[in-house]
Amino acid sequence: MQLDVSSQTPGDETLLTMYRTMTLARACEARLRKGFGSGEFAGVIWPSRGQEAIAGGLSTALRRDDRLVTTYRGIHDLLAKGVPPAEIMGEVLGRGAGASRGKGGTMHITCPEVGVMLSTGIVGSGPPVAVGLALAARLQGSDRVVAVCFGDGATNTGSFHEAVNLAAVWDLPLVLICQNNQYAELTPVEETMRVERIADRAAAYAIPGIRVDGNDPVAVHNALSAAVGRARSGAGPTLVECLTFRYGGHYVGDPQVYMAKDRLEQAMRGDPFPRYERFLIEHGVADADRLAALDAASVAEIDEAITVVLDSPEASLGELEADIYADLAGVPR
């Protein structure tokens, strides 16, 4: 099945929004890394450095009331959907400012106010939940759309297969975004599947599957917009594979012993930032100074947020009794 993707360049505002999202994601990760490295604070993240262009496209393709499901490696996605940086960093650091005040952790950030209904640490388990979100949209008579992000490795899970099939059978308003960063933990994608393009897996469900350059926010924006449009119109789900790379290893601190040096170097030559900056400048959207200012604003926003986080109390013991159930009646003893 085919998907009709525009090859037009979006308007300047869209282009700059994407840039802002990308810089915000980069700044957030850099700030956390710095703090971990200096011993300022402790925590764990699964870096998305290299994958920011996908967040860029995501931030402009979705409506605010659209929903997002993502993974542990989803900080860029969360920022794209509008989760306040303090909620993200607060949760990473287990502080009161965190999205769930330290109870969830990096892997489990939700922010329903902006449509983030789930982040999950169980690989492959996001798509079934996203199917349910999309089904709810239909049953509630809303035209909102659900986007679910997952990795290349996740497409080998049974959960992925069942979910895509179900979404296809039910023509649900779902956009399946595979962030193919070519690695699952320590294992490169070519060792875990024989297909060359993950997008080709869509054929098993008779839905459109499309691969785009995941380091090009414009390509991502256009593909996602087409998929979102298809979903919103009631025509059903689309699998969008964004080919990208994971520059920072599996987790912060990963020595990446398994990584061929030239593979990483080669991949880093495709870094989404310099490319996109050149593009914006060449197309007269912004000059270098303007871009530097936007980047600086993102850094400042993150700096401000981390202050809020570090000023907030540590996760409170008083939290423990709450939220096991709606009330305490169900809790044994």
Binding site: S100, S125, V129, Q140, S159, A163, Y325, V331, P332
Partner: protein
């Protein structure tokens, strides 16, 4: 509607029907549940015709996605009922149930409650063998965040199922096909619900308490009748929900009778009765006239031959024998 009798099958149908009728957030999904089939045992017959196939949805054979889709819809405030056709298949869906549904509220600090219901029948007693006969409720009891329900009568089945559907937390509702034909009085509570977490004394007695649920209640009542002929009056406490567990009612009863037998079709070892026996022994330490006894399924996969299965499962006879033994062994 509130007088007369009905079967548990009719009671479950009634609960689904009324919940679908009264709240547009309620919907059902599962394999083969829509018409014309109306469920492999015909239990959901007519519902998709009345409420439409949008709200009573057939699914592919995809237990993980069924459970996950129900979780997702619940996160949006819907009240889904997901059917895992036979309880033995939960091993396919357990990640969604235990890691997602059960933890959604807590991990989000209350931002994403998950009012989903998983309905999953037990087929034990049907001669279908080890992979189609298990009672695995102990797995769910051990997962904080879930509620676990097993009815023994038609009225309880209707009322508890309705409570589960409208409960703000994830519920695992377990009915046993061996009881689907059981007939009993209709539910007559005003809201047509039975509260979760409240045990029910199904038979009063003074000499010993049998604590049980589901099929065990049927067996315990039969045993109690027989024992009564010999002057032994057993109280039968039907837990109705295993989580929340109504320990006060249990302790009150055993506190009076000073003797307890716990019965269930789940495997005895590390089964639901272990927690109960541990609690009773602890909380009533020094006040019991005899050790707490358990009658569960024997420790083995369930054989397909019903002749063999009946030797492995509890029965009124086994409960009766155990009660007699406890009475004999009692001191003081």
């Amino acid at each position: 509607m509130t007088t007369g009798t009905y079967t548990m099958r009719q009671a479950l149908h009634t609960a689904f029907d009324s919940a679908l009728a009264e709240d547009s957030r309620v919907f059902m999904l599962g394999e083969d549940i829509a018409d014309p089939g109306g469920g492999v045992t015909g239990l959901t017959k007519g519902l998709s015709t009345t409420y439409g196939k949008e709200r009573v949805r057939d699914t592919p054979i995809s237990e993980a996605a069924i459970a996950g889709a129900a979780v997702g819809a619940a996160l949006e405030g819907m009240l889904p009922v997901a059917e895992i056709m036979i309880m033995d298949f939960v091993g396919i869906a357990l990640d969604q149930i235990a890691n997602h549904a059960a933890k959604a509220r807590f991990m989000s600090a209350g931002r994403t409650p998950c009012p989903v219901t998983f309905r999953t029948p037990v087929y034990g007693g049907s001669g279908n063998g080890a992979t189609h006969s298990q009672s695995l409720e102990a797995w769910f009891m051990h997962v904080p965040g879930l509620k676990v329900i097993v009815p023994s009568t038609p009225a309880d089945a209707e009322g508890l199922l309705r409570s589960a559907i409208f409960d703000p937390d994830p519920c695992v509702f377990i009915d046993e096909t061996a009881l689907h034909g059981t007939r009993g009085p209709r539910l007559d509570t005003p809201d047509r619900r039975v509260p979760l977490g409240k045990a029910d004394v199904k038979r009063p007695g003074t000499d010993l308490t049998v604590i049980t649920y589901g099929r065990g209640v049927r067996d315990a009542l039969a045993a109690a009748e027989s024992l009564s002929r010999d002057g032994i009056e057993a109280e039968v406490v039907d837990l109705r929900t295993l989580l929340p567990l109504d320990l006060p009612t249990v302790l009150d009863s055993v506190g009076r009778t000073r003797r307890a037998v716990i019965a269930h079709y789940a495997v005895e070892f590390a089964g639901p009765g272990a927690e109960l026996a541990a609690r009773i022994s602890h909380d009533l330490f020094g006040r019991l006239a005899a050790p707490v006894a358990r009658v569960g399924s024997r420790f083995m996969p369930i054989p397909a031959s019903t002749r063999l299965e009946s030797q492995v499962s509890p029965s009124p006879q086994k409960i009766e024998e155990t009660v007699r033994k406890v009475m004999e062994d009692s001191r003081g």
